[in-house]
Subunit: 222 residues, 4 copies
DNA sequence: AATGAATGAGTATTCATTCAT
DNA sequence: AATGAATGAATACTCATTCAT
């Protein structure tokens, strides 16, 4: 039961496609769950179908292959969200430092810490073995996502709030703690007997502080 | 390029025996290559054997299972190096800021940027599906590694060079960019058509700067 | 010649469905043949599937493992028959001597001399290496079977027709020639060049005579 | 450490062969143990070698194949004993009833209840899958053994002590309880949780009684 | 004589995908 | 539209036998 972002495409799609949008919602939800839990190749399509309450054959009626199923999951659970996110950020009015903090916290809350975050970890894990998926994900998620962050940093620089830094490198640096948080959460973080876990919110706060500190335009730059 | 224990056996052994002595090393090297390239479950033991130039059966002569082969690879390529690393750090005399920068740069050069780094990424990827390996890796690598970083931070605090920060959280923050670098390198970083790659050294330098900035004990704490 | 539940489905099912209904029976029949012919471990599931006219995968659609396939064969070909047998014996009215002769002859005809008999021999042969199967067979076949024989002997004693003998020991003694017959038939009895084979019916008649002679209540026990 | 029956072949064998007779004693003993414990095909030659304290290669130095090893075990542990047995029986002077009882009890004590007995069970179990072994065993053990029993029965008839019975059938009947005892002992008899076990000696006594009863020449056959 | 390293054919089980109904 | 029966390629691990030393 994903809160499917109303992708209301007015009339540009055929009847068939709209059907396809409506019905396979349960399949996508089931697939999201299982992909996040077990990864791409370790997830069996039969289990996805079973969790969605349909037969294996039915799944292939809607998605021509496991790969396409995965792509659909990504589109459904990430791409849309990313677009929303971009809009909110573009609309933001206040100081960039505030925007950056908000963006990171919000991303964690609305993406990283949800099942969608599991997809990011999964893609890191399996990109090497599934070039087609990697390519798709790069185009649909990573490129736009990086662009988003770059725009924030650039905004800070343009407005004289941040120092002149290498924007793409800084984008990587900003992404790193978030990805690490996700990767940890979906790997060793799940193990019962580990004592390494930190509180994500405190961690993010600390990172944001660190970054703002480092980005801050030197005021005494006379 | 495993630093296989100097096999300089003068002349005391026959050709066959020399072969035998070399086998584990050859197999471990082949396994390291393939595990890093394809991950744990996507690597077939037969391919490991083939790359080492032996038959499937021979591999099982030296390692009782794929799992044990993997553990041996970890011991061979990571555990030892970690220990060396710890010694160097313990022996360091200068200021902690320098130590931290050195540690991060060195780690990247001698671990992260080698095949051993691929193992770290692999473990993140597959920990969820192979609890036994996850447990092993946590105990043999993650716990000691985290300890190492914590000791550096603690040293800075104890010597009055760093601010009082939450040590474990800071350890996570310090690890994040390195893990991200590795994960990126072994996933999307390998793709030909991506434009996101940054220079690792510049990236690390920037991160170190950021951290030192954030850790610096406020001098005006009058 | 399994008495497969009368598959006389009027016309209510499609060809495919009819196929599906028949599958387990076909597989069980094939498995029975091969298990009897080659034993448990020497029988390859692939051969069972091939003899049933399906692929390897199909077999695992109906039986989760070779072990479970075997258990199903036992249930199908022995357990049911044993129950029938018990009922007939319980219903018998005449003298116990007659009952005993009838039981032994019938057993040979309807169990021992059929493929089901081969299963008994197989279990003797492989019990040691497959404890799970041994346990199963002991509970499902041997215990009930022994009980059956004990009841016959006890009936003779209770009715004053047989001498007071140790019932369990006598049960073993009664079973011995039947098991021997079976073991012989499925081992050396199959060899072309052996001259040891006797006529089973004559053999059974002789054994029955021997037992009745030995069991007969001494009339002159004044 | 088999009490190898001194097969003292004076000078008929080469130096090499005599060596072969002496050295592989430990291998034969180990093989006997393992064959009895696990059966022919489930026994690994490597385990035999290990138990004998030599390497796998050495085993093949003395025995060209697993099959030949087995034949050697049979010759060593059964054939010789059978010959002894035949001599004792031929030398017996008393009444045949006594001879028969002695033979059965002795056989159990000196063959059936030893590891040699395990071989008999093993052969019943695996004859079907190893025709070469079956043929060998038939010629070397079963034929002579059956002959032995037949001669006892014939002796009884000739001396007017036993009724005129079909000798080969009676031989089978006499063998049955012994084989059953052995088969049971080496299959379900080994299971902890079974309650079917009877005392072998009591069982044999009962059987002997039964047979003698049935064989006894009717004195009042007027 | 003795070793033990090396082989490779053999086997139970899994799973994405197809397709007749 | 929906089913679920059928497939067969794929994979970790075993073991009798060989042979260079």
């Amino acid at each position: 039961m994903l809160p499917v972002v109303s992708t209301a495409e007015p009339a540009s799609s055929t009847r068939r496609e709209r059907r396809k949008d409506a019905r396979p919602g349960e399949l996508l939800a089931a697939a999201l769950d299982l992909f996040v839990e077990r990864g791409f190749s370790a997830t069996r399509v039969e289990d996805v179908a079973a969790r969605a309450g349909v037969s294996k054959g039915t799944l292939f009626l809607y998605f021509p292959s496991k790969t396409e199923l995965f792509k659909a999951v990504v589109r459904e659970s990430i791409v849309g969200r990313l677009r929303e996110f971009a809009q909110e950020i573009a609309a933001f009015q206040g100081p960039t430092a505030e925007l950056l903090g908000m963006a990171m916290r919000q991303w964690w809350e609305r993406v990283g810490n949800t099942k969608a975050g599991g997809i990011s970890k999964l893609m890191m894990a399996e990109a090497g073995n599934f070039p087609e998926l990697a390519q798709f994900y790069l185009e649909e998620v990573i490129d736009p996502g990086t662009g988003l962050i770059c725009r924030i940093v650039q905004r800070g620089i343009d407005r004289g709030e941040f120092r002149q830094v290498d924007v793409p490198t800084m984008a990587h640096a900003l992404v790193a703690p978030m990805m690490h948080l996700i990767c940890w959460k979906h790997s060793f973080g799940m193990m019962p007997c580990n004592t390494q876990n930190t509180d994500p919110d405190a961690y993010i706060t600390q990172c944001v502080q660190l970054f703002l500190n480092g980005l801050e335009a030197k005021p005494t730059a006379t």
